[in-house]
Subunit: 205 residues, 2 copies
């Protein structure tokens, strides 16, 4: 990818459509003073329209968020993966790897571990970063770490109906909640067959 | 790192102090209706205090942001690295790798390429992801991609005083704007000596 300043149209326009995965509807009022905002080019040379406050001049930025989670595996050869059946929207009743929005005050790995603890109540050891996936349509980046389960007993939190181990042949592929989870699971079992865990970066459309 | 649901204090409290790097002061008014918010536990079982609107019940989340950039290298053996002298605060006049906040509508790599184009006006080819660095104190994750410069002529934008190539021995280490840039540069030259570029994840305190 060769880029010059003059290259047009390289950066796509922000998506007009927000799906249920996006937990932030567009900002309507100033977070500083409460006045209704106006969408316009800021005065600082910025080339993108932002929500600008006509009263206190605060410029509001909307940026992608990180979703962090793990691929918790069980057995001497990692033949089984822990999935959680979602007890919350979106995708209630669908299966997911434990994951959620990264919070202030934590690293990506700490957030992934926290979500695994909260959603599955699992005992595990964190491994290396396995996948980084851009989900541009909803303004998110998803990160999954490998994690080695130290027990097959789980104590899921209120966001999870059931936490269960699945072998590759039992994975409910049609009932997986999110594209990044499906893709990460597929990559995990592929790498397992090859016998070497890689580091994967992908864009999910 | 073994974790159980019962483990206390694993996740650090959100930092009280915001530095000049953090472009979002705490939210005071509801982004939906403009009413002054109250910091409290939401009603949905969430265990963290959030800014909740007493009028429309909107719960506001504060999440870490991604800063994306490149290590643009020049010469057959990548012996020189492109740095930009900052024309903006924070750290006006200090040297940095081209980088900035990831925007909606782009992948991490696209954001890194955009910043390299905007800040240096360089002609380059994107390489692999080189470093991912958590800066927990300011609620940021920094990503740097390797990039191969295709020209040593630059056309920096208004955020840059000067864009210049540096050999390792010339790097102005004491004048580098940010810890993640310093660390990424050090890792790059270290990997270059070894003769193999790695993928690095670090936490910067």
């Amino acid at each position: 990818m060769a880029l010059r300043r003059s290259d047009p149209g390289k950066v796509k326009n922000p998506p007009e459509r927000y799906t249920e995965l996006m937990h932030r509807p567009p900002l309507k009022h100033c977070r500083n003073c409460g006045c209704a905002v106006i969408n316009r080019l800021p005065d600082d040379g910025d080339t993108k329209e932002r929500a600008v406050c006509p009263a206190c001049n605060t410029v509001h930025y909307d940026n992608p968020l990180n979703v962090v989670g793990t691929v918790p595996v069980w057995g001497p050869d990692g033949g089984q993966v822990l999935l959680c059946k979602r007890n919350i929207e979106p995708r209630w009743g669908k299966w997911t790897l434990p994951a959620g929005f990264m919070e202030m005050g934590e690293t990506i790995a700490e957030g992934a571990a926290r979500e695994t603890d909260e959603e599955a109540g699992a005992l595990f050891e964190m491994g290396p970063l396995f996948s980084v996936m851009n989900v541009v349509r909803v303004g998110q980046v998803h990160f999954f770490y490998l994690a080695t389960l130290l027990s097959d007993q789980f104590n899921p939190g209120h966001e999870t109906i059931e936490a269960r181990l699945f072998s590759e042949s039992d994975i409910p592929w049609a009932e997986i909640a999110f594209g990044t989870v499906r893709e990460t699971l597929a990559l995990y079992f592929e790498d397992r067959r090859v016998g070497a865990m890689g580091f994967h970066t992908t864009d999910i459309t």
